[in-house]
């Protein structure tokens, strides 16, 4: 194992601020199964090759079929990609004029309606259902929840409020 010399700031040594900790022998209380490190490199190497082999097999399969089939599959793939691109890029003309008519006041009014509809209890009930919790009414964690906890969770999980209603 490669060694690393400790050139850190001595004033941060545990001994000065933590005498009990510094008196403890710095041992490793964790162990591993016998011969674990002897076997690990081979296991890892095999997994790396298995993942690569899966990629190669798909390519090999494609090149092993007849040219006619290759052409058909390639054409199909190109048509699908074109269709997706067209759908995504065709302008939604019927919505443009509506968007132009919406004012900032209209947007703010709609946002306010959404916030007025934000019911914390209903949201907690929905999240409990999503997480398979049938009886959460006596759960301490639920009692201690704040709106900020809920908002943090929604942001971390990329859940938009609108998708829950």
């Amino acid at each position: 194992m490669k060694k690393h010399t400790n050139t850190g700031d001595k004033s941060q040594d545990a001994g000065q601020i933590a005498p009990a900790l510094s008196k403890m022998e710095k041992t490793n209380p964790f162990t591993v199964p016998d011969h674990y490190f002897d076997r690990l490199p081979a296991i890892i190497t095999e997994k790396c090759h298995t993942k690569e082999q899966k990629k190669v097999n798909i390519f090999h399969w494609f090149t092993s079929v007849s040219f006619r089939y290759q052409l058909a599959m390639a054409s199909g793939a190109i048509l699908i990609i074109l269709a997706v691109v067209l759908v995504l890029t065709i302008p939604q003309n019927n919505h443009v004029s509506v968007a132009q008519d919406i004012t900032w006041d209209d947007v703010m009014q709609e946002e306010n309606v959404l916030y007025l509809d934000f019911d914390e209890d209903v949201l907690i009930e929905m999240l409990a259902e999503m997480n398979g919790m049938e009886d959460y009414s006596t759960d301490e964690n639920v009692e201690n929840l704040t709106s900020e906890d809920i908002i943090d969770y929604l942001m971390n999980e990329n859940i938009e409020l609108e998708t829950l209603y």
Binding site: A18, K26, P33, P41, K47, M133
Partner: protein
């Protein structure tokens, strides 16, 4: 086993004919450092085994694009840290489980862990470490057990040296307080 310098390892890996041999040497050189770093984060051996394997698979995939603007060791340590944190995040399996509940479960698992051979004082220390906020725990482990310099830790974690010193300082004080019962 003779350890090779990073430059030689990379040369072996980048040559198609010696790639497998080079990677095998790399794993043998760094497996223990990576493993123990991960193990101290996820605690359970089976979990650490999974995370370490995933780490080296990512290393294998990323070696072609490795730009050598950091050392191999730093780069792999960073991958291992991120994999460990992702693993713990998945363990927090639902919204109503608090972040520190994961660490609570890990602390309790030490009692029945077949691969934990420490005495009561060591158990107390490990539980104290698990009581730290997650990043502080990682900083503590890297400084106390792995004896990395603050500069190395800064490269791995992307945190300033000053912040790391502060983090370690508070971690040590909290652990001391836990050990002395204050």
């Amino acid at each position: 086993m003779t350890e090779l310098p990073d430059k030689e390892l990379l040369q072996l890996i980048r040559n198609k004919e010696t790639r497998n041999y080079g990677f095998n040497m790399l794993v043998r050189s760094y497996q223990q450092q990576v493993y123990w770093h991960v193990r101290r984060i996820v605690i359970d051996h089976d979990d650490a085994n999974d995370v370490v394997q995933n780490t080296f698979i990512k290393v294998w995939k990323g070696l072609a694009d490795f730009r050598e603007d950091s050392r191999l060791f730093t780069w792999m340590y960073r991958i291992a840290t991120n994999e460990s944190l992702s693993f713990l995040k998945k363990k927090k399996n639902n919204f109503f489980m608090r972040w520190d509940d994961v660490e609570c479960k890990l602390a309790n698992s030490i009692e029945e862990d077949h691969y934990f051979k420490g005495d009561e004082i060591q158990k107390k220390l490990q539980k104290a470490i698990l009581g730290l906020p997650r990043k502080q725990r990682i900083v503590f482990n890297m400084k106390y057990y792995d004896e990395l310099t603050y500069e190395e830790m800064s490269e791995i974690l992307g945190t300033s040296v000053g912040a790391l010193k502060a983090s370690y300082h508070f971690a040590v004080k909290k652990i001391e307080s836990h050990l002395t019962g204050n």
